[in-house]
Symmetry: C2
DNA sequence: GCTTAGCACTCGCCTTTTGCGAGTGCTAAC
DNA sequence: GTTAGCACTCGCAAAAGGCGAGTGCTAAGC
């Protein structure tokens, strides 16, 4: 990341153009730069430099008599090389810190609130992928009869993961059987990371409880299915509305495309899922997802015990405030990791 | 409902204007009516009638050289008197029936899927207020230790209500204590409707378990708090995006207002909450909520054991397809009642 | 007396025109 | 290498024009 391919003055101009465009959403002209930024250069000189930058692909013109805006390549260079690291304000730091300081809350809402804070601080739509089960440690399973033919299965793991599901049975089950199964499952599984689950453990268990094959099978299936499907469903969203503050989305059609994306969680999952560590910035068409190709996505992973378990991300127009969002996302991810490790 | 204040021909014209406007979203002119609907009347006659209808407040003109559109009063008359009852198509009936036929699903998703179906069938944003706890019957409470200082409280009731919350304790608790408390709570409460809960029951219980005051108090508080707060949070939404298909919302600002409303669940709660039985249609400014004043809302309650427990609703432009939505909402509410009564 | 043909009139909207201004590239001078 | 000057481009916003759908009114017809 970050080969310096441009000479310092071109870099300066690219940076100024990008910064200004991010702020104003208007193409930036040579004259504006000369007046506003006191670079000691005349508009004509800046024009020449900008023409060069356009030729080498860093800038582009929406039309011939307009100013320049960064191209995708320009944003990439800006993000990799030019962008100045931004400190969060005291206020922002406090918002995040005090949020994580308070540990008592309902489980689901940890995630929902995290994206809410993220959206509030960045003023962009924010996303979160809840923690994977794989590195989580199994804590508890409970089988609770609801009626003669219905059973509530409750699975608890660490990282605030609580899963419940009602299953229907074809035959009635006695409380005693349920207790025995619960007891055995808990005894065997408690403290085990889900990653180890797969088959061997269950085969072993099954041998111990031939009699209850039916319910046992169902319970095991459920646990395995939970393991598999959990990820795709665990996407949290907030602040979609923020996108409407940006002129890029003043036409309803543009917005609608994005909104459709937001409603399809498996597409979002593909967007977010990555095992890559650290901050990841995807700009415009670097994005696989078509609907997001005039957007940029900034994500960071959060970890537990040194292992990546989930992702948070912020989606904005390509003309987004990269420096600020990177700072927020980075800090949030770090605090989130600390939070889960502390639980 | 439904005094016939207008003579038959005026009613006919009001109905035709409203139907046509609902379909086309364009002001309806006398000529269009004459040509399209074969009423045996000339445009001039229709013009005269329309002028009368305008004077008495049932129609209005967006501007002087345009056709007529229904006023709020016009819609009200249409809805109360003129609207023809619509049958659902076989396909629609099947969608709903087959949805309710399948009973095995995760609890939360019952509600989420219900609004999804509703949105899909009506093509408007759809809302649902999950069932109140009050008439629900307590089934089970379980206290599960997560760590030395954390406790998962699981409350199960009928109507598919499952609530869980993690609470932090200042002091460690022994498994044996938890089991005893769980046992006592369950023994006393199982089968009781929440409506009876309030104080007497708990006072009685408290006397029986002086020793465990601390955790017991917390558990009871939690149950009571769940009782209180549950309603406001249990709002389900789907198909917000559908509103963008209507020309009324082509300006982003209009849409944004509505979207903000959708994100504030307590405002939605106020919109939906009602104990009134049967179909309720709120048109335009009849609506308390300012952001929804160029919308109409159609709601119906669903019941369990003859008691209203929740609401489903559809929000659309005032120019919405009342007849169809009423048919869908009515049928859905009925099936939903049957579903819960069957559980 | 209700209905309807005819007609003048209104006015939103769409298209075209016009003018402005921001911005450019090029050239020539510094 | 830098910059002043200048002709040129072109999007955009405001103004102008024309169209057409629709109206209200009047007078004639059933």
């Amino acid at each position: 990341m970050g080969r310096r391919e441009l000479d310092p003055r071109k870099e300066l101009i690219l940076k100024v153009v990008t910064d200004d465009y991010i702020e104003s959403a208007e193409p930036v002209g040579s004259r504006t730069i000369a007046r506003k930024y006191n670079l000691g250069l005349s508009p004509a000189t800046i024009r020449n430099e900008m023409a060069d930058l356009e030729e080498s692909g860093y800038l582009k013109q929406p039309h011939v008599s307009a100013g320049r805006i960064p191209s995708q390549q320009g944003y990439r260079y800006y993000v990799d090389v030019l962008m100045s690291q931004q400190e969060l304000s005291e206020e922002e730091l406090n918002t995040i810190r005090s949020y994580f300081a308070d540990r008592s809350r309902e489980c689901e809402s940890i995630f929902q609130q995290t994206v809410k804070i993220l959206a509030q601080l960045t003023r962009y739509p924010s996303l979160m992928l809840g923690p994977t089960l794989k590195p989580a440690v199994f804590k508890h399973v409970q089988l609770i009869p609801l009626s003669a033919h219905e059973l509530l299965v409750l699975i608890v793991a660490d990282l605030g993961i609580i899963e419940n599901k009602v299953i229907s049975l074809d035959y009635p089950v006695a409380q005693a059987d349920l207790d025995r199964i619960s007891y055995l499952l808990n005894k065997k599984l408690r403290g085990q990371p889900f990653a180890k689950f797969k088959s061997s453990l269950f085969r072993e268990l099954r041998d111990e409880m031939k009699a209850d094959n039916g319910i046992f099978q169902e319970a095991v299936d459920l646990i395995l299915k939970t393991l598999e499907t959990r990820n795709k469903e665990r996407i949290y969203l907030d602040g979609i509305i923020n996108i409407l503050d940006h002129p890029e989305f003043k036409e309803v059609e543009k917005f609608k495309l994005l909104m459709e994306l937001m409603e399809e969680h498996d597409r979002l999952y593909r967007l977010l899922a990555t095992r890559q560590r650290g901050i990841r910035i995807t700009i415009g068409e670097e994005n696989q997802e078509e609907a997001a190709q005039d957007c940029s996505l900034i994500t960071a992973n959060y970890e537990v015990g040194g292992q990546v378990v989930g992702t948070i991300g912020v989606l904005g127009p390509t003309r987004m405030d990269y420096a600020h969002v990177v700072a927020v996302v980075e800090f949030m991810a770090q605090k989130l990791s600390e939070f889960f490790s502390g639980v």
